[in-house]
Structure formats: structure tokens, C-alpha cells
């Protein structure tokens, strides 16, 4: 039997900050090269490109520095993934555009936009996920908001917490590791973590 707890509202107390900074692990960005591309040509003249038209209608290109992967489509649009910072993502995208330019296409660099950022960190204490999902389901029922937490050990070992503001999805694991995703800006990740940290402390395993 759980000790009765008043439902905790997920509002950050203005007191201490966690002192832990989430590390960015992956950035997904898109850019428009603004010219039609001949994918076969690109694939056959670039060392680091693969193209399987049967499987997927884009060229998959990789560069070593920054270590990233790009999907280049025949419309001229490009997706760049794998960078660890916004600057690196932009630099990598520019390098890919430069490769395409050198292969003879009039590539530009329009509308570079970061679409998703993933961060992770470790709170260094075990977290009682069953308790967390219980009280947060109660909270959402009171305010008639959609259920913001899902913990299904049969499907996934972590708890999926959908924060409303900022709009971030957090994967919380019993070992204390937290993954934050869905951000368009770095500050959203930091803010989300600062919001969740006091809640997680409330479910720390008493050692």
C-alpha cells in the first residue's frame, strides 16, 4: 500500500536548480538546396553516397567531420541528422551543399531550420516510476488534461512523460537517466529538465 500523497502539481519551485546540464545528443535539421538534383549522378560521383531507388527515393550521404548523415532528395530538399550542436548541424549541412555544388549542381542554402533536438542526462539516483505515473495521472484527471504520462513495462522499460510547457517528451528510466526530445531550441530542453527535476527528486529511492 502506497503512502497517500497529495497530487503534486508539476510547477517548479523557485528554489535550487539541479546543477545538472543535459547534453545534446542529436540534432535533425532540414534545408532547401533550391535546385532539382539528379540522384543517380550524385550517387555515382560521390565517395560517401549510397542510393537504393527501390528501397528509398533519396541519396544517403555521410561526412566524417562533423559526424553526420544526410538524406538528399531529388527535389533539392535535404535532411541532416547526427550533429551534436546547432552550429555543427549547420556546418555539416553547408558541407553537404558544397559537395553537391562541386558535383555540378547550382545548390543554394535556403531555409535552414532545426526540426528536432534530443538531449540526455543522469540524475544519479533511482526513480520510482510507478509512483510517478500514479500521481501524475491523478493530476491530469483533476485538470481534465490528457494523460501526460505512460508507463507500460510490457512495451517499454521507461516512463513516457509528455510535458505541456515546453512541449517536450521525456523518457524517464529507473536508473535515473532521462532522455528529452522534441525540442526546437536548446533552451526548451534545459527548461524541461529544470521542470522535471524537482518532480523526480520527489520519487527518489530512499537509500
Amino acid at each position: 500500500p502506497l503512502t497517500p500523497m497529495t497530487p503534486m502539481t508539476p510547477v517548479t519551485p523557485a528554489s535550487e536548480s539541479s546543477g545538472i546540464v543535459p547534453q545534446l545528443q542529436n540534432i535533425v535539421s532540414t534545408v532547401n538546396l533550391a535546385c532539382k538534383l539528379d540522384l543517380k549522378n550524385i550517387a555515382l560521383h560521390a565517395r560517401n553516397a549510397e542510393y537504393n531507388p527501390k528501397r528509398f527515393a533519396a541519396v544517403i550521404m555521410r561526412i566524417r567531420e562533423p559526424r553526420t548523415t544526410a538524406l538528399i532528395f531529388s527535389s533539392g530538399k535535404m535532411v541532416c541528422t547526427g550533429a551534436k550542436s546547432e552550429e555543427q548541424s549547420r556546418l555539416a549541412a553547408r558541407k553537404y551543399a558544397r559537395v553537391v555544388q562541386k558535383l555540378g549542381f547550382p545548390a543554394k542554402f535556403l531555409d535552414f531550420k532545426i526540426q528536432n533536438m534530443v538531449g540526455s542526462c543522469d540524475v544519479r539516483f533511482p526513480i520510482r516510476l510507478e509512483g510517478l505515473v500514479l500521481t501524475h495521472q491523478q493530476f491530469s484527471r483533476d485538470v481534465e488534461v490528457r494523460v501526460t504520462t505512460a508507463y507500460e513495462p510490457e512495451l517499454f522499460p521507461g516512463l513516457i512523460y509528455r510535458m505541456v510547457k515546453p512541449r517536450i517528451v521525456l523518457l524517464i528510466f529507473v536508473s535515473g537517466k532521462v532522455v528529452l526530445t522534441g525540442a526546437k531550441e536548446r533552451s526548451e530542453i534545459y527548461e524541461a529538465f529544470e521542470n522535471i527535476y524537482p518532480i523526480l527528486k520527489g520519487f527518489k529511492k530512499a537509500s
Binding site: L44, A46, R47, K95, A107, R141, P153, V174, S175
Partner: protein
């Protein structure tokens, strides 16, 4: 008013129901069909799971809610049904796993899980977390312990509670834990259940079961004897295994870091010794030639070393001084950087004090080159400050900004002639099938173009080509349109004609006559059946 029953009639057409399964409220025919269908499937599936009537009714309520929120759109009905049933199982606490449903339907359990999570979220229903203790009676029964079933179950439950207290169950599939608990309980009561038998019942992998057993072995409770275990409850709670593994990893990483740092320090010391020795050797050789050439070798060496050392010290000082001066310059640059970035000044001051030593070398050689004297302070400042600038500014015309891109690096990513040829050959071979398909497609398009029947798009659904409707009045046009859409048999055309003139509200049904007269197109059997069925309700609508 006339109500057009388009959607309802199409729905009715699909599954011919004679008599049963429809409502007086005709506008929701299709909805009724869906619910009816859903109810049937729920009962069918629920009976296979041996759920009682109450559960089935609750599941049907969930389904009704789902349909009203349009959650069935774009999803397989069977998935939604399964999700409703599983939701009931969770809220009622029955020992059914999602895996059971997946087995029955032969659908991937994660696909069902996705639908289930969505359903729970949209319906705002809190499914309480699964307690592995729920599964014990079911699995114990399947393992056939005979008379001792109850005892083994009790022991397994106790083991499971101990595992829960040792934080082994968070994030793990409950069936895996049950399997481990039952295996140990069986052995404790002298039943020789093998791992294979247990996993067949519990539906987990062998390695998972072994892992759970190993984790349990690591807890202090595993050291107790059987009797002790049944009586004693250890106070201490263990950390979850993933946490301890994570901590171990961290420690190893820290140790490695410390080790490598120590190695670096040692290497630094060794290299500094090396440097000193080399300097000495260098100094000793030319000096020996010049000054001590007259002396015998042995004496000279001795004298060399002493005098060398004597001079060495002075040289040392000079070298140290030179090094310090250069360091001071470097420190100054660093300080400039710090000032630009507005960092703490404390460090600067400390740094300066530590390195203040009157440079003897400077007096000898005159002022050594500093950034200022070389005239590059400005450029250094620029270089430092460009780091702080907003690097995301878009050039107005979208031209690719090439700063920071090394052209030679990019060139390395491009193949030369021979390499490109080889790659082209390989690629052609790999993708021969695809290329063949493309050629055939192009040939087909070209041929069709020649024959003049080429269509730009050939989607799977062929678009019906309709002749343009020619009618004199709007009413007639509507009639003909309805004919084409094959819904004509239900429409009362008299009312339609009256619409323009804002006619009466009572629809007079002239079914049979209108049917025969207007239906020149082929009328399928199902429509006629449906029309017969609808006869009464339409009249009731008319009576309103």
C-alpha cells in the same frame, strides 16, 4: 425536411442485415453498423479470453467512446477492439497479457501496444500499472503443481514481493519476473521444472529468465536458506540493477580518466627530463670543442660537467626566463580573450602574479616579439570576437556560405574518373532490376503517348469518367446526378422538385413507382433489399 441518407445507405449496403441491427434514428445508420460489428468482434474475442459479461460490456462502452471520438478512422478495427479489451483487462485486473491478444490476432504486440496507449490517452483512462503478482496463479496453474499448487504460489508471491522491494521489477516485463519467481519456488518445493518448461508458459526468452535469476542472486536475500527466507524479511533494499550497472560504468570511466591523466603527468615529467638531458648534451658538445680542447678527455669531461653545470644553471635560468616571457605573452592573449568573453578577472591576476619574474633574456636580446609589436592585436581580437557573433544570419539571396569549409576536405568526398566508372558498374549491377522496371515503364508511357491514350497519372483507383449532365432545370440536374451516384432509389423526387419553390415539409413516399421508373441503371440486389427495409422508418420520419 428531406434527409439524404447517403452515408447510411452505403453502410447498409456492405453488410446485409435483415431485420436486426438497426435503429429508428436513420441518420446514424453507418454508426450503428460500426457499433454492431464492434460488439460482435468484442464478444468473439472476449470469449476466447474467457472474460465475463461485465468486462465485455465495459469493453463495448470503451469502444463506443472510441468511435464517437473518431479513433477508429484510419485504424484496423481489430486493433481498436483488442485495445479496448486490453484496457478492460487492465482496469479490472484480470491476468491477461497484451501478448495473449497478440497471439490470438497474430499481430505484432508493439502495434497493439501503440493503439492501446493512444486509446488510453484519448479516453483519459488511467490504466493502473501491472502488478506481476496477478499473473502468478495463472502461470502456476499452467505449470501443474498438483496439490502443492497453493504452496508454490504462495512462495512465488513472497519471492516476487522481495524482488519488488529490491527494485528489480521497475521497467521489466512482469512475466519475466513471474517466471523467475516460479522457477525458484518450484525448486524450493522439490519440483524439477526446467527453464524450458517455464519459458514456454511465461513467454519470455531464456536469456531474460537467466538474467532475472542472476540479478536475484546478487541480492542479499538469495543467501538465506529456505526456512530463513520464509520467516525473515531483510530491511535493506537494493538498487535497481540498471542503476548499479550505470554507477559501475561511471566509476570505470572515472578510473580510466584518472589513469590517463596520471600517464600524461608521468609522460610530461619524463619528457621534461628528456629535454633537460638533451639540452645538456647539446651544450656539452660544442663547449668541449672550443674551450676544453686542450685537456685530456677524462679530465675535460669532469671539468666539462662541472663547468657545464655551472654555466648550465645560468643557461637554465635564461631558458626558464624565456619560457616565462613567452608564457606571459600567451597569458596576455588569454586575458584578452577573457575580457572579451567577460569572464572572471581573478584568474588573470593570479596568473600574472605567478609568472612575474624579471626576464633576464629580455635584457639580453631586447624586447621579445609580442602581439602588439607584431601588429596583430587587432586581428587576434577580431578572431576571438567572431566566435561570439550570431553565426546563423541568412544571407539575403540564400547563397551558400563557404566560411569554415575546407575545400580539400570536400574534394576528398568526390570520386575521380576511374573510381566513378567502377562505382557506376557496381551500381548498375546492383540495381539492374530497378533500371529494367524503369525502362519498361518509360516504354509503356511512350507507347501510350503515341496512341494518344496516355494518362498523366495512373493511380490504383481508376477515376470514373462521367459524362457531363445535361438537364434543363436544377431539379432535373440533381435527379440525374443522384442517378449517377446510384442512390436514386431512395429519393423522393417530388420533394426535390418542390425544393426550389420552398415546398412542403412532408415527404411523401412513392417508393415503388419511382423505383421502377427512375432506375434505368443496374440496381444491385442489396439496394433493393435495403429499400424494402427502410420503407417503414421513412414513413415514420414523414409522420413527424
Amino acid at each position: 425536411s428531406v434527409v439524404f441518407f447517403f452515408s447510411s445507405l452505403i453502410g447498409a449496403g456492405k453488410t446485409p442485415t435483415l431485420g436486426g441491427g438497426f435503429h429508428a434514428n436513420l441518420g446514424k445508420e453507418s454508426r450503428a453498423q460500426t457499433l454492431q460489428n464492434g460488439k460482435r468482434q468484442i464478444h468473439h474475442l472476449g470469449n476466447q479470453l474467457q472474460l465475463n459479461q461485465h468486462c465485455l460490456d465495459t469493453a463495448f462502452n470503451f469502444f463506443k467512446m472510441a468511435v464517437s471520438k473518431h479513433l477508429t478512422r484510419g485504424r484496423k478495427m481489430t486493433h481498436v477492439i483488442a485495445a479496448c479489451l486490453y484496457l478492460v483487462c487492465r482496469t479490472e485486473g484480470t491476468p491477461h497479457m497484451l501478448l495473449d491478444l497478440s497471439d490470438l490476432l497474430q499481430v505484432n504486440v508493439y502495434v497493439l501496444g501503440k493503439t492501446f496507449l493512444l486509446l488510453a490517452r484519448e479516453l483519459c483512462i488511467n490504466a493502473p500499472a501491472i502488478d506481476p503478482c496477478l499473473y502468478i496463479p495463472r502461470f502456476a496453474h499452467m505449470l501443474e503443481f498438483g496439490d502443492k499448487n497453493h504452496e508454490v504460489s504462495m512462495t512465488a508471491l513472497r519471492l516476487l514481493q522481495r524482488m519488488k522491494r529490491d527494485w528489480m521489477h521497475t521497467g521489466r516485463r512482469p512475466s519475466g519476473l513471474c517466471g523467475a519467481a516460479l522457477l525458484v519456488a518450484a525448486r524450493m518445493h522439490d519440483f524439477r521444472r526446467t527453464v524450458k518448461e517455464v519459458i514456454r508458459v511465461v513467454k519470455v526468452c531464456e536469456s531474460t529468465l537467466r538474467k532475472r535469476l542472476t540479478e536475484f542472486e546478487d541480492t542479499p536475500t538469495s543467501q538465506l536458506t529456505i526456512d530463513e527466507f520464509m520467516k525473515i524479511d531483510l530491511e535493506e533494499e537494493c538498487d535497481p540493477p540498471s542503476f548499479t550497472a550505470g554507477q559501475k560504468k561511471l566509476k570505470i570511466q572515472q578510473l580510466e580518466k584518472a589513469l590517463s591523466k596520471k600517464l600524461e603527468d608521468f609522460e610530461g615529467e619524463i619528457s621534461s627530463y628528456q629535454d633537460e638531458i638533451e639540452i645538456e648534451l647539446e651544450n656539452s658538445r660544442p663547449k668541449a670543442k672550443g674551450v676544453f680542447a686542450n685537456f685530456t678527455k677524462d679530465d675535460s669531461i669532469e671539468d666539462n660537467t662541472s663547468s657545464i653545470l655551472g654555466e648550465e644553471e645560468a643557461e637554465d635560468e635564461e631558458l626558464e626566463a624565456a619560457a616565462n616571457h613567452l608564457n606571459k605573452d600567451f597569458c596576455n592573449e588569454l586575458h584578452e580573450k577573457d575580457r572579451v568573453k567577460k569572464n572572471e578577472d581573478g584568474e588573470c591576476k593570479n596568473g600574472n602574479e605567478a609568472l612575474v619574474r624579471p626576464p633576464a633574456l629580455e635584457s639580453l636580446l631586447g624586447p621579445l616579439p609580442t602581439a602588439a609589436s607584431l601588429g596583430i592585436t587587432e586581428s587576434i581580437k577580431e578572431c576571438i570576437s567572431t566566435k561570439d557573433q550570431e553565426p546563423g544570419e541568412n544571407t539575403g539571396d540564400g547563397e551558400l556560405d563557404l566560411s569554415g569549409i575546407d575545400d580539400s576536405e570536400i574534394d576528398r568526398y568526390i570520386l575521380n574518373e576511374t573510381e566513378a566508372q567502377i562505382k557506376a558498374e557496381l551500381w548498375m549491377k546492383e540495381n539492374a532490376d530497378y533500371l529494367k522496371e524503369q525502362k519498361e515503364k518509360e516504354a509503356r508511357i511512350a507507347k501510350e503517348k503515341e496512341l494518344g491514350i496516355y494518362k498523366e497519372h495512373k493511380p490504383k483507383k481508376s477515376a470514373k469518367k462521367r459524362e457531363p449532365i445535361q438537364a434543363s432545370t436544377a431539379g432535373e440536374a440533381i435527379e440525374k446526378m443522384l442517378e449517377q451516384k446510384k442512390i436514386s432509389s431512395k429519393i423522393n423526387y417530388n420533394v426535390l422538385r418542390d425544393l426550389n419553390s420552398k415546398g412542403s415539409n412532408t415527404p411523401k413516399k412513392e417508393d415503388d413507382s419511382t423505383d421502377d421508373s427512375t432506375n434505368t441503371k443496374k440496381l444491385s440486389r442489396r439496394k433493393s433489399i435495403a429499400s424494402r427495409n427502410i420503407a417503414n422508418p421513412v414513413n415514420s420520419v414523414g409522420k413527424r
